[in-house]
């Protein structure tokens, strides 16, 4: 399930942001878990980007003479699946698809959620409308949307990302809205309004940069949720479609023969866990780093 996690706003960050950011980066650099998360992420992203170079086989190449090879078999470092496809190659390409879905989904949530959240928090007239919209979206089961999209446009990577992205919009709106509400009442914003700055300028120069920390943290939390959401959609047959693999489809496929060939399920399961874990560790460290008071 795609659960929505709302991140508590970090401390107010009035005035000049850059030095604070640098301090945050320095703090991030001192967090061993954050570094570990970042390293795993970097490796995963690198592996995904370089999949065509790294993968020993095409992810869809079948070897009818070698199904269910155990990991460690010569030529198949992580074994093969039911159709004799190389699990390592599929993991690499699957990583690619899964990360892509996660990033696309969150990009969509950001692109729509941030402006709406800013508007809702800043302009009281718009708040009622946008909050109703948010309520409607939250009341509407997101899986219905995913099934609908799959029915209309055929199940695919893009549609999975679209559905997951839409599912994360309300959470993003709420985070940004509450940040904006809080920042709007702070002295330095009020002061610039008194100075005659336009609303757009205030939003762009003061509110958005200060809300950014909360947004970034919310995004790092939402990405692993989207990656797991993708696997759920795949389980229901609504995700990325064969022969292209994603970690979720691999897991869903493996469900049918988990007892016979556990590695076909364990490996993608571990990969999902590692990536999600890395995102979460990194997100945690980032949150702590951006919030000086929590670092005591």
């Amino acid at each position: 399930m795609t659960a929505t996690e709302i991140v508590t706003p970090p401390a107010p960050d009035p005035g000049a942001a850059p030095p604070r950011r640098r301090a945050a980066l320095r703090r991030l650099g001192r967090s061993p878990l954050g570094i570990a998360g970042f390293t795993v992420l970097a490796v995963a992203v690198l592996a995904a980007v370089l999949a065509p170079v790294l993968a020993p086989y095409s992810p869809s190449q079948v070897h009818f003479d070698a199904p269910f090879q155990i990991p460690g078999t010569v030529g198949f470092a992580l074994g093969t699946d039911d159709l004799g496809r190389d699990v390592l190659s599929r993991i690499l390409y699957g990583l690619r698809a899964s990360l892509l879905v996660g990033l696309l989904a969150i990009a969509l949530a950001l692109a729509i959620g941030v402006p709406l959240g800013l508007a809702a928090g800043y302009f009281r007239t718009l708040d009622a409308v946008i909050s109703r919209f948010t309520d409607l979206m939250l009341a509407f089961p997101f899986l219905l949307l995913a099934v609908g999209l799959a029915a209309i446009r055929g199940p695919s990577l893009g549609n999975a990302a679209l559905a997951l992205g839409i599912a994360h919009i309300p959470g993003m709106i709420r985070v940004v809205r509450s940040e904006t509400l809080r920042l709007k009442n702070l002295d330095f914003v009020a002061a610039s309004l008194v100075d005659g700055a336009s609303d757009v300028r205030v939003l762009g120069r003061h509110v958005l940069p200060n809300a950014l920390s909360a947004v970034i943290v919310q995004a790092t939390v939402a990405i692993p949720q989207a990656i797991i959401g993708e696997s759920v959609l795949s389980f229901l047959g609504l995700g990325i479609q064969p022969p292209d693999p994603s970690l979720g489809t691999m897991l869903a496929d493996a469900q049918q023969y988990a007892a016979r060939a556990p590695w076909t399920a364990v490996v993608p399961g571990l990969a999902i866990m590692l990536v999600a874990l890395a995102f979460n560790l990194f997100g945690d460290a980032l949150r702590d780093a951006l919030d000086p008071r929590s670092t005591r």
Binding site: A128, P141, L143, I152, I228, S231, Q255, N280, L281, R296
Partner: protein, 318 residues
């Protein structure tokens, strides 16, 4: 307080009507035909036409919506196009299952989540925090259909501790009912527990760092009192929000858990109905889901205002 309640009620009604219209139009925009989905491999053009007529699909959309609204106001949500079972009866059997599952899962989530969250915040930098964090991260990082499958394979089939699937109504045999729901509730609850834990932890950290806590500490309040009376109470505001949000998600989407454990719940009913283009069921289900979600949010808001009276004022202004 009264005008605030009225205001919220009005907002809720608008959301509800919007939701039904969106769904009504949405399901009809899907490719695929309820008559064909019903007839499946045994369909032919002549009988499809007859089935469509019987299902009232030849009326205009406005007439269909009118019939739906009139029926709904009388408590009649139509019958399933596939099984012929009245939708209200389906909801009547499906909803309690999902509610019970959700409540139990939420219980699991709150007990696990709040405890580990408090421990993680209070024992910052100690092994206890690492352990609690690790648990939460695992909970966040495992797809729950996978967890469910493992649970069935090892706990139900392997060890025979729990039934692998199925459901016994609460009224029929409370013990058997609980026995059937333990695994699903655990599986569904752990994912949410992780979120609750993280929320609790950050809210606790926030509170523990706040001035009034420092003041309380400086005044010499015992650590236990600081944590319990001040920090936790304040953190609960955040936790309640999260719980409210997750409840909405739970009710609308326990689909996977229900499907894996063969629970005749609401979520599974919904997804099956969409696959089958069972319009009356989808409409009924969304109507009830939206109503439930709105009700929960309403209750959360009230819980909020009880925990923190300032919110009432802020809320009334919007």
């Amino acid at each position: 307080m009264r005008s605030y309640l009225l205001h919220r009620l009005w907002q809720s009604a608008v959301t509800l009507v919007l939701a039904t219209i969106v769904v009504f139009l949405g399901v009809r925009a899907l490719p695929g035909d309820p008559a064909a989905a019903f007839a499946g491999e045994e369909r032919d053009p002549a009988s499809l036409a007859a089935i469509r007529e019987r299902l009232g699909l030849n009326d205009t959309i406005v007439v269909q919506y009118g019939k739906f609204v009139l029926g709904a106001l009388r408590g009649d949500l139509g019958t399933s196009t596939r099984t012929g079972i009245p939708v209200s009866q389906m909801i009547g059997t499906g909803l309690p299952v999902t509610i019970e599952l959700s409540v139990l899962a939420m219980l699991v989530a709150i007990v696990l989540g709040v405890t580990t969250g408090v421990v993680a915040a209070v024992r910052r930098g100690r092994p206890a925090e690492w352990f609690a964090n690790g648990l939460a991260l695992l909970g966040l990082s495992v797809p729950n259909f996978w967890l469910g499958l493992i649970a069935i394979l090892y706990l139900a089939v392997g060890l025979g501790l729990f039934p692998a699937s199925g459901f016994v109504p609460l009224g029929e045999d409370p013990l058997a009912n609980l026995h059937h729901l333990v695994l699903p509730a655990l599986v569904l609850g752990t994912g949410i527990a992780a979120i609750v834990m993280r929320q609790t932890r950050s809210a606790m950290l926030e509170s523990l760092g706040a001035d009034y806590i420092r003041t309380a500490r400086a005044k010499g309040a015992s650590p236990r009192a600081v944590i319990g009376r001040h920090a936790l109470r304040n953190s609960l505001v955040v936790v309640v929000t999260v719980v409210g949000l997750q409840l909405g998600i739970l009710i609308s989407g326990a689909v996977v858990t229900e499907r894996i454990f063969g629970l005749p719940g609401f979520g599974k009913m919904t997804i099956d109905a969409v696959f089958q283009r069972d319009y009356p069921v989808i409409q009924g289900v969304v109507l009830v889901t939206a109503a439930a979600y709105i009700l929960i949010n309403f209750l959360v808001d009230i819980a909020y205002s009880l925990i923190d009276p300032r919110i009432r004022v802020a809320g009334a202004q919007t």
